[in-house]
């Protein structure tokens, strides 16, 4: 009996494990080794330096600064994205109380998710362009010309300008996920609640939210991992990894990229990568633990 089971499981699992081993585990193992060398990336010589790179990293104020930006993103990105997506999802569904035109909005709000991140980035880099950009143009025309600025180089705005793009482009995706979760809630729950005199808000708070909590939790983890990365949008919106904007919104992954590809410090960059890997693991496990709640069966 047991043998037969394994005869089925092994051939199905083996290819996946092999691929995972070759393309995920092995590169990680290599990166951990490279992080203990001073490899410049242009010759086969990789002098071993032990934990030197990690020691330097601990004292590197630019890295700490970059990580603290990730920290800010970690709070803002999941909170704002999930809040907005939940509002939209609730407006477009919730037990037959959907607002008029919900079907249209559902599709339109998903559009940004269909566009590749690079194109989203280029699009918005033009929106933020100071002299011919849409944003400053709108501000000028509605009499708020005083608010105009170079959004992508001003140290006060550059990071948040990019965060706004990230939220804009991901709200549609999480809205759809929440919609799906909400649609699986039987509408009889809401009918009963309405009979008992529940308002829209109270039925959201007491029925919808608890029942889709598992989905929200998964979204928090996804968005937190995205906040720890946040590489593509900054590099594309700001116009390159070494621009003023990228320098002033430098997150850990961008710092890693510049150390490797611009400064040729592959050993050091690998050490940053290993630290980020550990942070991501700790964060995922931490969030899972913190957000564990009783799951409702229905």
């Amino acid at each position: 009996m047991h043998y037969q089971k394994y005869r089925l499981i092994v051939p199905f699992l083996l290819p996946a494990i092999l691929l995972y081993g070759v393309f995920v585990v092995w590169p990680y193992a290599q990166a951990i080794y490279v992080s203990m060398t001073s490899w410049r990336g242009v010759s086969p010589s990789r002098p071993f330096v032990g934990l030197d790179n990690y020691r330097r990293l601990a004292e590197d104020s630019r890295f700490v600064e970059a990580l603290s930006r990730n920290g800010q993103l970690l709070i803002v990105l999941p909170l704002v994205t999930i809040a907005i997506s939940l509002v939209f999802a609730a407006l477009f569904t919730q037990g037959g109380q959907a607002i008029p035109g919900a079907g249209f909005y559902r599709i339109v709000f998903f559009f940004p998710q269909v566009i590749p991140a690079v194109i989203v980035g280029i699009l918005w880099s033009y929106v933020y362009t100071p002299n011919i950009g849409l944003l400053n143009g709108v501000l000028r025309n509605v009499g708020l010309g005083g608010l105009q600025r170079s959004w992508l180089t001003d140290p006060a705005t550059v990071l948040w300008a990019v965060v706004a793009v990230a939220i804009w482009s991901s709200v549609g995706f999480y809205m759809v996920i929440f919609l799906a979760a909400m649609q699986s809630i039987p509408s009889s729950f809401y009918e009963a609640a309405v009979l008992d005199g529940a308002t829209r808000w109270s039925s959201f708070r007491d029925i919808t939210f608890p029942l889709i909590w598992e989905t929200v939790r998964t979204s928090i983890i996804y968005l937190s991992i995205a906040a720890l990365d946040f590489f593509i949008l900054i590099i594309v919106v700001s116009g390159g990894s070494t621009t003023m904007g990228a320098q002033r919104a430098e997150v850990a992954a961008l710092y890693l990229y510049n150390q490797a590809f611009d400064k040729n410090r592959w050993g050091y960059a690998s050490a940053i990568g290993v630290v980020l890997l550990l942070l991501t693991l700790v964060l995922s496990v931490g969030i899972m633990r913190l957000t564990r709640r009783e799951t409702y069966e229905y």
Partner: protein, 474 residues
């Protein structure tokens, strides 16, 4: 056995009509330990010999050659010309593998790591391999023998003697010529000759006059200056560095050499005080902080700004958007009171560096390819196809290729030996990064000159104290 003796022996040998084989035998017989090519090159340097096409580098005529070129602003027709019309002609049996690509680092790095690099590379453009890192790793062939070899089509001169003076300095690492710069770039302040003449203005030779004219221009509704705030290394490298060099040449040499308090020198503060006026008096086109180089150059071509810091690649880079009668020309930065270098002094040097990897399979072939490219014929082809000067002396003579080309040649003639380029930005990228970001903050009124000096000096000291960074001296 002294060098002079070897050299004399070879010179006498050649004078007697010995073949290379006989020379080699004589050399071996005499216990010669110097590499043959070096010795031969020395003899060629000493005696004017018309053996330009005679394979002075000892290339194996049948060996395949692997050529990789950065296909950027200059295109790559000039390189294909060398492949098809020069190298193949001399060595018809050689099989040439050719690639014209961008972002060379990502594509070539694995080849270097696995010990299989191409034979000759134009290592330029964004995302190229770090030349300093390659040099530090011993991955670059010493081009000393090529420099001393006879020129391909200038009789009686060595290869090195045919190149513009000073153009190859940036290719020297620890006394060895490891890079060869191909394009002769001049950087400075660009303007439209048509515009200036139509308003009756002439280019201001002093900073005071520049400020006066800027005020007048601003009053007439046009921004006097435009530059990119997204890449502030433009204003740093093409204006600040140049003005500092003219103000006090030793000050910028000290900066390149990471001397203590080099950034706190009075000359640095004096130049910055002048530059800060551009920000304070709002002489930059509004919104310049958020313009990248292409956007700022477009605004300039549309006449929204008058003066633009840039280099000689400008015309080729913008060739699709230049108005018909724009007539762009380049000028040196204006003089400050007490400058030690005359107004005509200008930043000029080699760009578009070529390398021959030391681990390549056909090192001699790679060098020979460069000898053919850096010839009068190669230089003329380049000038005609890109409207840009190469480092080959005289390769642009007699060509009428527009105002940018003409003004570059005129500026070089006027400057004579007063040309220079700063090195710290290429040698020490962290330092260059800090300087560029601090100058942006300074010009945008976010910091003071003292803060600029303190921050950049700190970066310079950090670089100096970091044992992991290879140091250079000039």
């Amino acid at each position: 056995m002294s060098d002079e003796r070897i050299e004399r022996m070879f010179r006498e040998g050649i004078a007697r009509g010995w073949s290379r084989r006989q020379l080699l035998q004589a050399g071996v017989a005499a216990g010669l330990v110097l590499p043959l090519s070096t010795a031969l090159a020395r003899s060629a340097a000493g005696a004017p010999l018309a053996q330009g096409t005679e394979n002075p580098l000892g290339v194996d005529p049948a060996a395949p050659l692997d050529v990789v070129i950065f296909k950027g602003g200059f295109g790559d027709d000039y390189a294909k010309n060398v492949n098809d019309n020069l190298y193949k002609k001399l060595y018809p049996d050689a099989q040439i593998t050719y690639a014209g690509i961008q972002r060379l680092g990502e594509q070539l790095q694995p080849r270097f790591v696995s010990g299989n690099p191409p034979d000759v590379i134009d290592n330029s453009g964004a995302g190229n391999l770090d030349n300093a890192a390659l040099a530090a790793e011993g991955q670059l062939a010493d081009l000393g023998d090529l420099m001393a070899a006879p020129s391909y089509d200038t009789e009686g001169k060595t290869f090195g003697e045919t190149l513009a003076p000073g153009s190859q300095e940036t290719g020297i690492f620890d006394g060895k010529q490891l890079l060869l710069n191909w394009a002769l770039t001049v950087t400075g302040v660009w303007y439209s000759q048509t515009f200036m003449e139509s308003k009756g203005y002439t280019y201001p030779k002093t900073w005071d006059e520049m400020m006066g004219l800027s005020k007048e221009l601003k009053g007439s509704g046009v921004a006097p200056w435009v530059t990119t705030g997204v890449h502030p290394q433009y204003i740093r490298g093409f204006v600040f560095d140049q003005m500092l060099w003219k103000h006090d040449p030793q000050a910028i040499v000290n900066i390149d050499n990471l001397e203590a308090d080099a950034w706190k020198a009075p000359a640095v503060a004096e130049v910055l005080e002048a530059l800060v006026m551009l920000g304070e008096q709002e002489f930059f086109l509004s919104g310049w902080e958020g313009l990248d180089h292409i956007q700022s150059q477009n605004e300039w071509l549309q006449g929204k700004g008058v003066f633009l810091p840039c280099g000689t690649w400008l015309e080729n880079e913008m060739k699709d958007s230049i108005p018909a009668d724009f007539n762009m020309v380049v000028a040196p930065t204006p003089s400050l009171p007490g400058d030690k270098i005359a107004f005509e002094g200008i930043f000029a040097g080699g760009g578009e560096p070529f390398i021959v990897p030391s681990e390549g399979k056909n090192v001699a072939g790679g060098k020979e390819w460069l000898r053919l490219l850096f010839s009068k014929e190669g230089g003329r082809f380049f000038a005609e196809s890109t409207k840009s000067l190469s480092v080959v002396q005289g390769s642009g003579e007699g060509l009428d290729l527009g105002t940018a080309f003409g003004s570059t040649q005129a500026a070089l003639t006027a400057a004579g030996t007063n040309t220079f380029t700063a090195r710290y930005g290429d040698w020490y990228k962290d330092l260059g990064d800090t300087a560029k970001s601090e100058i942006a903050s300074l010009l945008q009124g976010q910091s003071s000159i003292e803060e600029f000096q303190a921050a950049v000096q700190e970066a310079s000291d950090a670089t100096k104290d970091d044992p992991a960074i290879t140091k250079y001296q000039r």
